[in-house]
């Protein structure tokens, strides 16, 4: 086995660098200002993360990754307005946000389609909440359902759909509100590997067709790299931003890129950031005694 020397994960091709330049010139949609989340008070105070600062530009795709307990879900929930930060600010189009609103659509890990509504009525929900007339809402909902490829299922109930289809409806439902930013909290976490891979491709296709900025939480390194423009890496002990990385893998993304040098370099870096400072696993200390010799002769 030969070890291939990987390039520096920060090294960008001219095309990729030009793309990031263009992204930086776009207006800022979401500003995260010195965000802190802590539980408890006094000596028992536990800081989940602090000093999180980030500007997200229009139509940028940001993934957030980190070990469990780093507060990545809490972070996105604060942006959504479902949790409160201890200090710091979230600005959407320069206006501070404090409570949930349709300008920040969210797709959850669990299935949160309303089980008593058909696919169409689920997608219409946000539109109706915002006072859209039933017929307009219906026409608009149909377009979004079409876009996620579920036109045949518009009158089905959520329990009749597979996990991947449910999440596609959830995406359509969030996008129907034409949010400024789409928040996705490990949306494919409950899906099997095959479906997950398909959904990642779907998501990039949808993102290409819609004017939407995406903040995507995941714990899967491949997923984080495959989807993102930039990756926000959070850590624990102490909690906070480890690094914000500009993804050097060019677009459009393909399956072959998973073995490209940039991809592997970035993956190695992420792996180091997330697992590098972890103490050795308990499993490494397991006793070495064996219980069987069956099958040894075949080796």
């Amino acid at each position: 086995m030969t070890t291939v020397a990987l390039p520096d994960y920060r090294q960008q091709s001219p095309e990729v660098a030009a793309r990031f330049q263009r992204i930086r010139e776009r207006p800022v949609i979401l500003q995260v200002r010195d965000l802190e989340k802590a539980y408890g008070a006094g000596p028992s105070r536990h800081v989940v993360f602090d000093h999180v600062t980030l500007d997200i530009h229009r139509r940028e795709f940001i993934t957030v990754i980190g070990p469990s307990g780093c507060g990545k879900s809490t972070f996105v929930r604060i942006v959504a307005g479902l949790d409160e930060a201890t200090s710091g600010q979230i600005l959407l189009d320069n206006h501070p946000v404090s409570e949930p609103g349709p300008d920040r659509g969210m797709v959850f890990q669990g299935y949160t389609l309303f089980p008593w509504l058909t696919v169409k009525r689920n997608v219409m929900f946000g539109l109706e909440m915002r006072g859209r007339a039933r017929s307009t809402a219906e026409t608009e909902a149909r377009q979004w359902i079409d876009m996620v490829g579920l036109a045949k299922f518009e009158n089905s109930y959520p329990h009749e759909l597979s996990g991947g289809m449910k999440q596609r409806v959830a995406i359509a439902r969030a996008l129907a509100n034409e949010p400024r930013i789409l928040l996705m909290d490990e949306p494919f976490g409950a899906l099997d590997a095959q479906t997950r891979w398909k959904m990642q491709k779907y998501l990039l296709q949808i993102w290409k067709k819609v004017d939407v900025t995406i903040l995507f939480i995941t714990h899967d390194l491949d997923e984080a790299i495959f989807l993102s423009d930039r990756i926000l890496v959070l850590g624990t002990n102490p909690g906070g931003v480890r690094e914000i990385i500009e993804n050097p893998v060019p677009r459009p993304r393909t399956l072959e890129q998973f073995l490209s040098p940039e991809f592997l370099a970035l993956k190695a870096r992420l792996d180091h950031l997330i697992h590098g400072d972890e103490p050795p696993d308990e499993e490494d200390k397991l006793p070495l005694g064996r219980m069987t010799t069956a099958g040894d002769d075949a080796e």
Partner: protein, 335 residues
């Protein structure tokens, strides 16, 4: 080749039958529904018609020379034997009789006849009601008691389940009152509301209402909070959350709660009808028991069962149509 296949199939079938928590349908499942009614009926018929099962009494046919035996009366088997032994010792002809069950256990066919009879026979005394009139009165009492309770209890329960302060304000007192048996309020209800239907409706209300608030509140709390969060990120505000998410989200479970609570109301009916001027189906049952017409008593009790069971079946059927999203039409298609 056929034999091993058959051998393999047999244990599989057995496994399906006794698989814990299985939702697979077993061939001939409909039969079980019938059996669940048929088996008790078979036991009842066996005890009634097979002479050596139970039958602790003897129905006298020919009293012979026993002074206190009369034709068609029932005596204990031991007494009958003792008297016959005396007659035999004296060399006189023996008394005859057939094994019989106590009068309070009529045979199925007698109850079946009573069923017909109780609807077609006029009441014994003037002013007493026909069975169907008694039933109708009971149904009205239960309807009003349950409806009034639900009109207040369901909204209150949903509010308690949704808003913490309302729960804090309501539930301790409701919990406290819940432990006072509704019938304990009987005398009070009569003093305030008179002796006819109003105090009975009040007892059903008291018996149902306090349980209802707590049950409904608990069911409401079981709604997946993620659905509420999802609705919030879609732009739903508080009244919309309540009417567009919480109420429809709980509706199916609330509906089933109501079915169970209605059964509860029937239990309180019997107590309620004893209060003030005894009325309704309870009065009918008591009256028939006084006349020792136990076949009518059984018929009336069974009618309550049939009424309750058909109501519940009807509500279950209605539920399937009210909540189409609870129906499993087909297995989930692939992504």
């Amino acid at each position: 080749m056929a034999e091993p296949a058959a051998a393999a199939a047999a244990p599989t079938r057995r496994r399906v039958w006794l698989k814990p928590f299985s939702d697979q349908s077993v061939p001939g499942q409909a039969l079980f529904v019938w059996l669940s009614f048929l088996l008790p009926l078979v036991v009842w018929a066996a005890v009634s018609y097979v002479p050596f099962l139970w039958h602790p009494l003897v129905k006298i046919q020919d009293p012979a020379s026993v002074s206190y035996f009369r034709p068609d009366t029932l005596v204990e088997r031991s007494v009958f034997r003792a008297e016959n032994a005396k007659l035999a010792a004296a060399g006189k002809p023996l008394a005859t009789g057939t094994p019989a069950n106590p009068v309070f256990l009529p045979a199925p066919h007698e109850v079946a006849q009573a069923f017909h009879k109780s609807f077609t026979t006029p009441p014994r005394r003037k002013g007493e009601k026909w069975l169907h009139e008694s039933l109708w009165q009971s149904i009205q009492v239960i309807f009003w008691g349950f409806t009034i309770s639900s009109l207040i209890g369901v909204p209150l329960g949903i509010l308690c389940g949704t808003f913490q302060p309302i729960a804090k304000l309501t539930e301790p007192f409701v919990d406290f009152t819940r432990y006072m048996p509704a019938p304990a309020f009987g005398a009070l209800a009569v003093a305030v509301l008179g002796i006819y239907d109003p105090p009975k409706i009040a007892i059903i209300f008291l018996g149902t209402f306090f349980q209802q608030v707590l049950v409904i509140a608990n069911t409401t709390r079981k709604l997946d909070p993620a659905l509420i969060e999802a609705a919030q990120t879609l732009g739903a505000r508080r009244p919309q959350l309540l009417f567009r998410v919480i109420v429809p989200g709980c509706a199916f479970d609330l509906y089933n709660d109501m079915r169970i609570l209605l059964g509860w109301a029937w239990t309180y009916l019997i107590v309620a009808e004893y209060i003030g001027a005894s009325s309704g189906i309870t009065f009918f049952i008591n009256q028939q028991a006084k006349y020792r017409i136990y076949d009518n008593v059984f018929a009336a009790i069974i009618i309550i069962g049939i009424l309750g069971f058909t109501t519940d079946r009807f509500l279950a059927w209605l539920g399937v149509h009210l909540f189409p999203w609870k129906r499993r039409r087909s297995s989930a298609p692939a992504t």
